[in-house]
């Protein structure tokens, strides 16, 4: 039984007066793929943002890779997000006027690696996500699917132990979405990392090992798929 890489307990979050999460508990283990589903407004994206350290919950605890996200400082959370956690959002993630190769290499660059090494690694990943030859292109010139694949490459370049993905196939077409998921799941399985996937699409949810279904800011039920 592998250890839990993510443990959330009693997490609450509200935007001004609207409660998005009203006490959610969830775990994810190494090598596991968890799909978080639910109707819109159920709090899926908020859950993901809290689990990855982008938002701070107003109540509850979040343990990510043996770090208590609430007690470590902002700088440490950022470093965690850079090295051991990968995030893939639906859009708006790549730095707008940076060429693709630098975008993908960004986590390595922010960590203090030298430019040459980081760019070499990024080139390798661009090839893997079938974007080789687009190293100098800027994000504005990419299609939705291409941008998402670049985002996946960036999320995986530091070899994270946990990857969070929020509707990663949101801006892609059907076949592009399949390719994206294949790449993502393949890479995650390869290194026995955990993948927490927020989606409203059942066909994507079925690719997970376990489904956590939210409703109205609470966990409604879980379905074990393997």
């Amino acid at each position: 039984m592998s250890d839990a890489v993510l443990t959330m307990a009693g997490v609450e979050y509200a935007y001004r007066r609207t409660a998005a999460l009203r006490g959610v508990s969830m775990t994810a283990r190494a090598g596991e793929i968890v799909a978080v589903t639910g109707p819109s407004g159920s709090g899926k994206s908020t859950l993901l943002h809290i689990a990855s350290g982008v938002l701070r919950p107003q109540a509850g605890t979040v343990r990510l890779l043996d770090h208590d996200l609430l007690s470590i400082g902002e700088a440490d959370r950022c470093r965690l997000r850079r090295r051991e956690v990968g995030i893939v959002l639906q859009f708006g993630q790549l730095v707008p006027d940076l060429p693709l190769i630098d975008n993908v290499a960004l986590p390595l660059l922010l960590d203090g690696n030298d430019m040459a090494g980081a760019r070499t690694a990024a080139a390798g990943w661009l090839e893997r996500v079938q974007l080789d030859g687009m190293a100098a292109v800027i994000p504005a010139e990419l299609s939705g699917g291409q941008a998402q694949r670049a985002a996946v490459a960036r999320a995986l370049i530091t070899g994270p132990a946990v990857v969070f993905a929020d509707e990663p196939t949101g801006s892609t077409d059907l076949l592009g979405g399949e390719l994206l998921l294949d790449l993502l799941i393949g890479a995650v399985r390869e290194r026995n990392a955990a993948l927490v996937l927020v989606t409203h699409d059942n066909t994507i949810a079925t690719r997970a090992d376990r489904e956590v279904r939210l409703r109205d800011g609470l966990v409604d039920h879980e379905v074990r798929l393997t």
């Binding site: 109707p39 059942n202 066909t203 949810a205 079925t206 690719r207 489904e211 409703r215 409604d220 039920h221 379905v223 798929l225 393997t226």
Partner: protein
Amino acid sequence: MATSEVLLALLGEQPRHGYEIKHEYDAWFPDSKPLAFGQVYSTLGRLERDGLVEVVETRQDGAPQRSVYALTDQGRRHLRDWLTKPAPAEGTSAEEIVRKTVAALRTGTDTAGFLTRQRASHLRRMRELQQQPAGRDPAFRLVRAHTLARLDADLRWLDLAAELTHRAQERGSNP
């Protein structure tokens, strides 16, 4: 059209005679073809033979004799099983899921639980199919895609059903 279990559900609320059964059925499924009396009585006969229903009284108020049917203990057990276990995802017509759900709602059985289980069954079946490679043959890929599309459609309906049930429960009423 396998209506036996639905008749059991109709009798699960209270004992009824044939005429009442037909009208209740039509009220439960207003969009479908009205149930024929002949089918009602032949199904009732079959259920009686199998020991799932029994005649509890025979009314006689000047009108032609009307037998009132009710569930036997075996019948009650059979109904409970039907409402608890999810329908197999494969080879099941969509109507079966609808019938079960309506029956569960009408008889006040744990609908949410049933829907959860049915959803899980569908999800697992979808996953099974996705894991098996469809190969390159376009015809087979099409068949596979259609099966998956139907399962997805059923799942979306189940999600909707869960949502409506939940909201109705919150309001404290029973549809």
